[in-house]
């Protein structure tokens, strides 16, 4: 790790405050970013990290406070100002034009021109050149809609680099990446920092912070609660600064004997536009066990989840739930029969941001007592009182940070929005719980709580299917791990067999060494593309 503490500050934020209605998102935050360093910003969900980054990038105007770049005060009234000052940001939520090519996305807003028109060749050349310089190879002519998540993120970084960003903000960049993708991203970050770029990294993951950053700032409730030099700190210290307490790692003790089979998938095939997304897979999940599905994103895991829930139909094969063949059933009937799903895309699929938190917590319960007032003839009616009472209860129980259930789901921070989804799905008490990336974007304290709940669910006799990119999560929770590659199950590992190495090897195609897979090719080996 290079020593950069002595280099000059590239950016200084002082006394930054921002309120949203009753919520104080940032409260007098000071942050100093040194040139050529990697600076991690950590904090619980809703601590104000994204807000601070948005302020730094000119997307949000602070109520008070000052920003200096290279020592001189600046005011960013729009991202344009920030970009001009040398900042670039990769958002938590990708902002790409799906119908356009990689090159078009990269040069958008700062296009090379010829005769007044966009010079496509120059744009493509630029993408290739930047890709080579930073190790971000990608086909400039590929359409973004066809890229994997990891590739999309490269495009995002290329966008910033194309504008000669010397200060690069990455908001939770690893939340959706596979281990391989994470390590190649870190290589890129290191390379950039070594060539003088200042990198700000917002993340919840302690090990990432420890491995890639030079300095760490911790936020809690909008205030700075700790500043550390990475070399001088420990994971425990960071966690304490974030949460104000010590966090225990929960893990599966393997102490439950599985019962009857709850989910039985047989010879399932999912195809789309003639391409098989899932090819002929079979597996069971029994009561009292957590079955993990590991795999690089885009290898058919999501399609399996959709097929279980019923939002996607099987081309062939069957899904059985508690002994009943539900293959042709509607989502509603399957849910009623006993399946709950925590979906990967919580904003697109798992919630309605314009509705209240209480209403978001109601869906799926709205036809069953007590909310769907199911007393005799009152079937199909909704009890507003029960709805409110229930939302109060769940907000309390799941520690959702919001003034009240009558606020919209859209006003919640990323992690709290995830808690709403989890609260709703866990409270169905369904025999089968499918959890897809359940701790995505969630802080360590909340991860602990969610992991605890998943284990409790299992201990109480529930069957859990856990789809995750996080090998550590699978190791901590799963009784068995299935590994998916190109739409097929390529490995089944028992608790004893499952290790970081064995899962990682299976994910990348068993024998191939992971780290070198993506060199000198414009179509990295990320399995089936979306």
């Amino acid at each position: 790790m290079t020593l950069t503490a002595s280099s000059s500050p590239a950016v200084e934020l002082s006394g930054i405050s921002k309120r949203f209605g009753a919520v104080v998102a940032n409260d007098g935050v000071d942050l100093v970013l040194r040139r050529g360093s990697v600076h991690a910003v950590m904090g619980e969900n809703g601590a104000g990290k994204s807000t601070l980054m948005s302020i730094l990038f000119g997307l949000v105007t602070p109520d008070s406070g000052q920003i200096r770049v290279d020592g001189s005060p600046v005011t960013f009234s729009s991202p344009l100002d920030a970009i001009a000052a040398g900042l670039g940001m990769v958002h938590q939520h990708f902002r790409l034009f799906e119908s356009m090519t990689v090159a078009a996305n990269v040069v958008f807003g700062a296009e090379p021109r010829r005769l007044g028109l966009v010079d496509r060749r120059a744009a493509e050349a630029r993408v290739r050149e930047l890709g080579e310089r930073y190790g971000l190879e990608i086909d400039p002519r590929a359409r973004v809609s066809q890229l994997s998540v990891g590739e999309r993120q490269r495009v995002e970084i290329l966008k910033a680099l194309h504008r000669d960003a010397t200060i690069l903000i990455l908001d939770e960049p690893t939340a959706v990446l596979t281990p391989g993708e994470v390590s190649s991203l870190f290589a890129v970050i290191r390379r950039a920092a070594d060539s003088g770029t200042t990198v700000v990294l917002v993340t919840h993951k302690i090990n990432e912070v420890l491995s890639v950053s030079d300095e760490v700032t911790v936020l809690r409730d909008g205030r700075v609660t700790g500043r550390f030099s990475t070399g001088d700190t420990s994971g425990a210290e960071l966690v304490h600064a974030m949460t104000g307490r010590d966090v225990l790692e929960v893990s599966n003790q393997g102490d439950v004997t599985p019962g009857a089979t709850v989910l039985r998938v047989r010879d399932a095939v999912v195809s789309e536009g003639g391409v098989e997304r899932v090819g002929n897979i079979s597996f069971d999940v029994r009561a009292g066990e957590i079955v993990g599905i590991a795999g690089v994103s885009g290898n058919g895991q999501h399609e399996v989840v959709e097929a279980i829930l019923g939002t996607r139909s099987l081309a062939r094969g069957s899904v059985e739930l508690q002994g009943a063949d539900v293959t042709g059933w509607s989502v509603r009937d399957r849910r009623a029969h006993g399946v709950a799903v925590i979906p990967e895309d919580r904003r697109g699929e798992g919630s309605a941001i314009t509705m209240t938190i209480a209403e978001n917590l109601t869906l799926g319960h709205h036809r069953t007592a007590p909310i769907g007032a199911n007393r005799g003839i009152r079937r199909g009616w909704i009890s507003l009182r029960a709805q409110r009472a229930r939302s109060r209860e769940l907000i309390e129980q799941f520690d959702i940070r919001t003034p009240s259930g009558q606020h919209t789901a859209g006003s919640l921070s990323g992690g709290n929005a995830q808690k709403v989804v989890i609260a709703r799905e866990l409270s169905y008490g369904a025999p089968l719980l499918v959890a897809e990336q359940p701790t995505q974007g969630v802080d360590v304290g909340a991860i602990e709580a969610i992991h605890g709940r998943l284990l409790d669910y299992r201990t109480a006799g529930g069957a859990v299917l856990l789809v995750s990119h996080e090998i550590s999560e699978l190791l901590a929770l799963a009784d068995r791990v299935l590994v998916m590659l190109s739409g097929e199950i390529v490995a089944e590992l028992s608790r004893a067999e499952a290790t970081s190495a064995s899962i990682g090897a299976a994910m990348s195609g068993a024998t191939a060494p992971t780290a070198t897979a993506t060199t000198n090719t414009t179509t990295p080996a990320t399995g089936v593309r979306r």
């Binding site: 994204s50 990038f57 997307l59 729009s78 991202p79 344009l80 970009i83 940001m89 958002h91 938590q92 939520h93 990708f94 902002r95 790409l96 034009f97 799906e98 119908s99 356009m100 078009a104 958008f108 807003g109 700062a110 296009e111 021109r113 007044g116 028109l117 966009v118 809609s145 998540v149 999309r152 993120q153 966008k159 908001d171 939770e172 939340a175 959706v176 789309e272 536009g273 895309d345 919580r346 904003r347 697109g348 798992g350 941001i353 859209g410 006003s411 919640l412 921070s413 990323g414 929005a417 995830q418 995505q440 974007g441 979306r530």
Partner: protein
């Protein structure tokens, strides 16, 4: 029926021209993410202001100019509302269509003291391009038309290419496809939406002027008679891509003209009325079957 005759082509083109301009307005709006169904009302206002200005100045081109400017102003409510204030463009459009219908009839009565139609003696219409007569193919098609007719085609092609190849065109499309993405790259999203909506107003002004000073030389209450809605349907049909608009609009024109001609062999008038709409719907159904909708986008983090 003589479908392949040049006079038929000329008739179709003439009927389609106001719709072409209006649908270009709609397509541009669609490209920046504003669902613009105010075309009908704006075209009506354009038709009225063109006639009024031509009447007062004695010059049809002054009428066209006035229609462009005044309809651009007319579209301010939609531009400000939809682009700057993020109000619902559909609601504003429905209101402004009603307003246009009322205000044109109202002004006709208070300004000219007539109701129904206004076509005073000596009202100047747009000149036809008679000098093209004698040129094969071009002559029979365009000699009886105003210069606005070829302009519509040229403009659509120019705008289509501009959208595809120019930096601003690229940005404009980006604004509609993913406004947050565009704005995070420093693009003034609401600025683009605002000016495009104003430009759409100006185009509807030309559409109206062509209708009231080109196709005929008169203003009549509700003279657009659904042409703006046909333009909306055309925009839908081509999914907002301008280069396809001539196909869609000329398709409508042909459907209508064909319906008229079918009356000659005994088809009821109601068939003519229904044909353009029914055909559009059938084409929409047919094309959607062949091009299934794109899959929903993948997103990673979901912080609002």
């Amino acid at each position: 029926m003589q479908i392949l005759e040049l006079s038929f082509v000329a008739a179709v083109l003439l009927a389609a021209t106001p719709v072409l301009f209006a649908s270009l307005a709609g397509a541009l709006s669609a490209q920046v993410g504003v669902f613009n169904i105010a075309l009908e009302g704006q075209m009506l206002w354009g038709a009225f202001s063109a006639v009024a200005a031509s009447y007062y100045t004695g010059s049809a081109w002054a009428g066209v100019f006035t229609a462009i400017v005044s309809t651009a102003v007319f579209s301010l409510a939609l531009a400000v509302g939809a682009a700057r204030w993020k109000a619902d463009p559909i609601v504003i459009a429905i209101g402004s269509n009603l307003f246009a219908l009322g205000i044109t009839g109202f002004l006709m009565r208070v300004l000219f003291d007539v109701s129904g139609s206004f076509s005073p003696r000596g009202l100047q219409g747009l000149e036809k391009m008679r000098w093209l007569e004698g040129i094969p193919v071009i002559g029979p098609i365009f000699a009886g038309q105003t210069p606005l007719v070829p302009l519509a085609l040229v403009l659509i092609v120019a705008v289509g290419l501009w959208l595809k190849f120019s930096p601003r065109g690229l940005r404009l499309r980006g604004v509609g496809e993913h406004p947050e993405a565009a704005s995070s790259l420093g693009i003034n999203v609401s600025g683009y939406q605002f000016w495009v909506t104003i430009a759409a107003g100006a185009l509807c002004g030309i559409a109206g002027a062509q209708l009231s000073l080109g196709n005929v030389t008169v203003f009549t209450e509700n003279m657009t008679a659904g042409r703006g809605w046909i333009a909306v349907a055309a925009v839908m049909l081509v999914a907002g891509r301008p280069l396809w608009l001539p196909v869609a609009c000329l398709g409508f024109g042909a459907a209508e003209a064909l319906g008229f001609r079918l009356q000659g062999v005994g088809a009821p008038q109601q068939l003519t009325d229904a044909a353009p709409y029914a055909i559009t719907l059938l084409v929409l159904v047919a094309t959607r079957i062949r091009f299934p909708a794109r899959r929903a986008s993948i997103s990673t983090e979901s912080t609002p």
